[in-house]
């Protein structure tokens, strides 16, 4: 479960106040909103990458508001993937496991199978297509078995057929891992294809959107 209580944030260009929402355990939530309205800022705050002015963040029963990004154990996929260009695909996938002192070989193999990227292991990240890079970024975030997965506009830069393919991949991840997911996007089709819970950030507030 992700629970955000009365979160207040300020950036150079906007302020968000009293942001509150809950994503139930195992659910796939999609947070919609116009570009630049603060969706990424909320994700960064949940990850611990952006200081908040007030409010609290819970992951399950644990309050993580004051914890470092590493201690929150969140799988995070930024919009630009941010793959490590000095490492190959296998090393990217194993990075979080090594950082946490966990065994990597077997888990990286599992992730490779789950995401269909085993044949990319020896490749550098520079030559990957958009869809391949997206799968590697997802695999890297999932490898250390996070309780929560945060996805920032993961499919916006992909063409339509690759996006459909990635919808299947994301559904498959959800079925196989049961990870609680918060997916930020401005694309309605992402919400239609994937979401159990749809939230909308509008006018500085997050509201649930009920399907008809």
């Amino acid at each position: 479960m992700i629970r955000v209580n009365d979160l207040c944030l300020r950036s150079d260009s906007f302020a968000l106040s009293d942001i509150a929402f809950t994503v139930p355990t195992g659910a796939y939530a999609v947070l919609m909103g116009r570009s630049g309205c603060g969706k990424t800022t909320i994700l960064e705050a949940i990850c611990g990458l952006r200081p908040i002015q007030s409010g609290s963040i819970y992951l399950g029963t644990l309050e993580v508001t004051a914890l470092s990004p590493a201690e929150r154990k969140i799988g995070y996929v930024p919009q630009d993937h941010a793959l490590f260009p000095h490492l190959n695909v296998h090393e990217n996938l194993a990075f979080g496991l090594h950082a946490r002192g966990l065994p990597s070989e077997e888990r990286v193999e599992e992730i490779g199978v789950l995401l269909g990227i085993s044949d990319l292991f020896g490749r550098t990240t520079a030559g990957l297509s958009g869809g391949e890079a997206q799968r590697v970024a997802l695999g890297r975030a999932l490898a250390f078995r996070p309780g929560v997965l945060l996805l920032d506009e993961p499919l916006s830069a992909l063409d339509e057929s690759t996006r459909d393919e990635m919808h299947s991949v994301l559904r498959s991840i959800r079925e196989k891992t049961g990870v609680t997911t918060l997916h930020v996007t401005h694309l309605r089709e992402d919400a239609k294809a994937l979401a159990d819970v749809v939230l909308e950030l509008h006018g500085g507030k997050v509201r649930p959107v009920h399907s008809d």
């Binding site: 590493a70 490590f84 000095h86 990075f95 979080g96 950082a99």
Partner: protein
């Protein structure tokens, strides 16, 4: 380069203006080469004083560049990645050695070491009592070179870190790294080319340094003489041929190091 006929005057104008400078650089080197001969350069290289000067130049420049990198990486990172009170002042301080006349750097070092007092004695006297000598010593050569070169290393490293997306480090943090681990495992490997460039810029700057050395370290033959001061010493006794030969040796050393760095680091400086 294939260009549309209508664009040719544009590129021709750029080539004439920029090419004029390239021509000047080539003319300077050709003038030096034409003024001397290989035999003369070999004779100059056989002089024990010039050999000592060459070795002191090489190791002092390497040390000054290494120390410059040691401060350039952390300072460049802080200036590129963080906001803090007094940052504008710190940026201005970091630019002072770049704009300050080199002679003043040497004079300032001389005053620091000989007029700042620790327990009733000057800093230099205090250091001497502990077995270290800077003023008019080889360590002073390195310090004088470092004082200016480090500012260039800071600038280069700041540019390197500014071009590197902070997002990559942030992802490393979410994957389980501490700040130190993210810096060591992600930031530094990605900054490798920038570090190579910063080292080379600092090295080249140290090679050409003369004013601060003259005042702070002196130009004692066999002790604090480096190639730039060798040129000065040769000129001061009216041996223009010797000065030109040493200049050519400096050009060869500088170009050799630049080519080596490009080959190993693959970077454009």
């Amino acid at each position: 380069m294939k260009t549309h006929p209508s664009e040719r005057p544009f590129y021709l104008a750029l080539s004439v203006l920029g090419g004029g400078y390239a021509l000047l650089v080539v003319l300077m080197i050709v003038a030096n080469v034409a003024y001397t001969s290989p035999a003369h350069i070999i004779d100059t290289l056989r002089q024990p004083a010039i050999q000592a000067s060459l070795w002191l130049t090489l190791w002092s420049c390497i040390l000054a560049a290494a120390f410059s990198l040691l401060v350039g990486v952390p300072m460049g990172y802080l200036l590129a990645r963080t906001k803090f009170r007094g940052k504008a002042l710190l940026e201005a301080i970091m630019d002072i050695p770049v704009v300050l006349p080199p002679l003043i750097v040497g004079l300032s070092l001389l005053i620091i070491f000989n007029h700042f007092r620790i327990g009733g004695v000057s800093l230099e006297q205090w250091l001497n009592a502990h077995g270290v000598q800077f003023t008019f010593a080889a360590a002073g050569v390195v310090l004088a070179q470092f004082s200016v070169a480090a500012a260039f290393a800071v600038r280069t490293m700041r540019g390197t870190f500014e071009q590197m997306p902070a997002r990559i480090e942030e992802v490393a943090l979410t994957l389980g790294c501490t700040r130190w681990q993210a810096f060591r495992r992600v930031t530094l490997p990605l900054a490798r080319r920038g570090m190579m460039a910063a080292f080379t810029v600092a090295w080249a700057r140290s090679l050409g340094e003369f004013g601060p050395l003259l005042i702070f370290a002196g130009t004692t033959r066999g002790r604090t003489e480096v190639l730039s001061s060798s040129v000065f010493l040769e000129l001061s006794v009216g041996r223009l041929e010797g000065a030109v030969a040493v200049s050519l040796i400096m050009i060869v050393v500088a170009v050799g190091v630049l080519l080596l760095v490009r080959k190993t680091g693959g970077t454009r400086i």
